[in-house]
């Protein structure tokens, strides 16, 4: 099964084996990984599933659509031009067997 490494800001890491076809957002929520909220259920409308993808995996990702790009401009933790993505828009599966991401400090405005 595809593996997802969730690195928390404090240094801890959760490693999840995700069912192929599952998004990085859904896998986090289903497995109780803190730091991803996913309030819109994966519609790229809430930006509470913001993640920073680790450099080694950026090349393997599907291109970003306009909605995702626009939402990434309004995340509560700052956008990183290279690494920021929405976890709901990235699915693991045959073309993405492994991914490592860093979680931001916050997903919602305090």
């Amino acid at each position: 099964m595809p593996k997802i490494f969730y690195h928390h800001p404090g240094g801890a890491t959760d490693v999840i084996d995700a069912v192929p076809g599952t998004s990085v957002m859904r896998a986090a929520i289903t497995n109780g990984v803190d730091g991803i909220i996913g309030e819109c259920g994966g519609q790229a409308m809430c930006a509470t599933c913001h993640i920073y993808v680790r450099e080694d995996y950026i090349g393997a990702l599907p291109a970003m659509n306009e909605d995702e790009d626009e939402m990434l401009d309004v995340t509560s933790s700052p956008r990183d031009d290279e690494r920021s993505r929405l976890a709901c828009q990235i699915k693991v599966g045959p073309s993405l067997q492994e991914i490592a991401i860093d979680l931001p400090l916050t997903q919602v405005e305090p």
Binding site: G41, G42, Q43, D67
Partner: protein
């Protein structure tokens, strides 16, 4: 020991349990949820869940381990059947009685049902719960003619999903416009066109008169104009009723929802209510409203957790909402009334535009189609009550993003319209 009892394991109840722990609450938390499932998100049920591809797995609100990790006593599949506000106890369907120091209603809402002749036929469905959605998802595989009663958000989201699967879809709406009460006239007209263009048979000004059947199973829907539309599946989406019966029984004030004050407290100082079941004074409109949205449920929960941990905090968050209908993403910031003055910005034909709504010269809300960043800018403008005028929006050089940013540095005394409308 102190004990907070939460009735309802939906978006509001689960977020409250979570936020209570984040706010440092150390007493007992008992969460009663009468549905047999682990708490799940409702919005996908009328969207992705209805598509052929998605494999129909619900999106949980939290992992199964959440309740143990957060020391929340989760009473799955157990209904609270009565409340004694004097003795401060609740009785549950498993026979248990529990005393509380604080009680919270997060009981949500249920579907309003139709009562026309034929309503009892097989093949007439509603869409609120995971069980509703699973039954519908299964029937979509074999249905050919679908009639949706009511052109509200959920009905239209479902209609768009069914149409995408190639089904013949008719939508009956008694009112003159789809989503007519809560959208600007322009936006609701836009959606009428979008759905009609996708091949949905949208019948405005036609309500449901009766349902016809063969051998106990629905076969058609007769509208108030007398026309019969073939149907092997009928989905009713004519709105919801707040679950407030227990509150009535506990002698709390109820008026289209459980009546609460700005801190979400009911007429009993030990009892609170939030989410779809509660009616609260909204500072942005100056009126008492009951909202049905994820934003409302979760933001109210985050604020109520503060109040319940000794930091009384009024709920003042800006309402916002989204809906996905086929390929169209609609996002709404603020509370719009269908007769607000509206100004369209952008080119509707391009499939990306916004409608700015004003009442007495004050911005009430912004509806955005496929424009998430404009929606987010609008939220900032509304939250900070920045002085946006119809003239500014009409200016060809108006840029919502920079307006929402620049104006944040204005001297607050310069913000006209800063004073709040009187609260009822």
């Amino acid at each position: 020991m102190s004990r907070i009892v939460i009735i309802g394991g939906g978006q509001a109840g689960v977020q409250l349990a979570d936020s209570l722990r984040s706010e440092g609450y150390q007493g007992a938390i008992d969460l009663f949820a009468d549905e047999p499932h682990l708490p799940y998100q409702r919005p996908p049920l009328s969207k992705d869940f209805m598509s052929e591809e998605d494999g129909a797995s619900p999106l949980p609100l939290r992992a199964g381990t959440f309740f143990g990790d957060r020391a929340v006593d989760f009473h799955q599949g157990v209904e609270v059947t009565s409340v004694d506000p004097v003795g401060q106890t609740v009785v549950a369907s498993d026979g248990s009685t529990l005393s509380y120091t604080k009680l919270v209603f997060a009981t949500g809402a249920r579907n309003r049902e139709i009562s026309v002749p034929g309503s009892e036929l097989v093949g007439i469905r509603y869409l609120r719960t995971l069980d509703d959605a699973k039954a519908l998802q299964a029937e979509l595989g074999s249905a050919k003619h679908v009639v949706v009663i009511g052109a509200g958000f959920i009905g239209l989201e479902f209609a768009a999903a069914a149409r995408k699967r190639g089904l013949d879809v008719t939508v009956l709406e008694f009112g003159p416009r789809p989503m007519g009460r809560v959208l600007s006239q322009f936006m609701s007209g836009y959606f009428a066109d979008v759905h009609t263009d996708s091949g949905i048979n949208l019948k405005l000004g036609e309500g449901i008169a009766s349902l016809t059947g063969v051998e106990g199973k629905v076969s058609g829907a007769v509208s108030t104009s007398g026309t019969e539309y073939p149907a092997d599946l009928v989905v009713v989406g004519i709105g919801v009723l707040p679950n407030s019966e227990l509150a009535v029984q506990a002698c709390l004030e109820v008026d289209n929802g459980i009546v609460v004050d700005a801190c979400l407290q009911t007429s009993d100082p030990h009892i609170f209510a939030l989410g779809d079941c509660s009616s609260y004074p909204n500072v942005h409109t100056g009126a008492r409203i009951r909202l049905e949205s994820v934003q409302n449920a979760t933001d109210q929960a985050r604020i109520l957790a503060k109040t319940l941990t000794g930091k009384p905090t009024p709920y003042e968050a800006l309402p916002w909402f989204w809906s996905q209908q086929g390929a169209v993403k609609l996002q709404i910031a603020g509370i719009i009334h269908c007769d607000d003055e509206s100004i369209v910005r952008g080119e509707p034909a391009s499939g990306k535009f916004s409608v700015y709504c004003f009442r007495d010269g004050r911005l009430t809300g912004v509806e955005s189609v496929n424009s998430p960043s404009e929606h987010m800018a609008a939220r900032k403008v509304l939250e900070q009550r920045l002085p946006l005028t119809p003239e500014l929006v009409m200016d060809a050089d108006f840029d919502p993003k920079s307006f929402s940013r620049q104006s944040a540095f204005l001297n607050p005394n310069d913000k006209e319209g800063l004073e709040r409308p009187a609260t009822v």
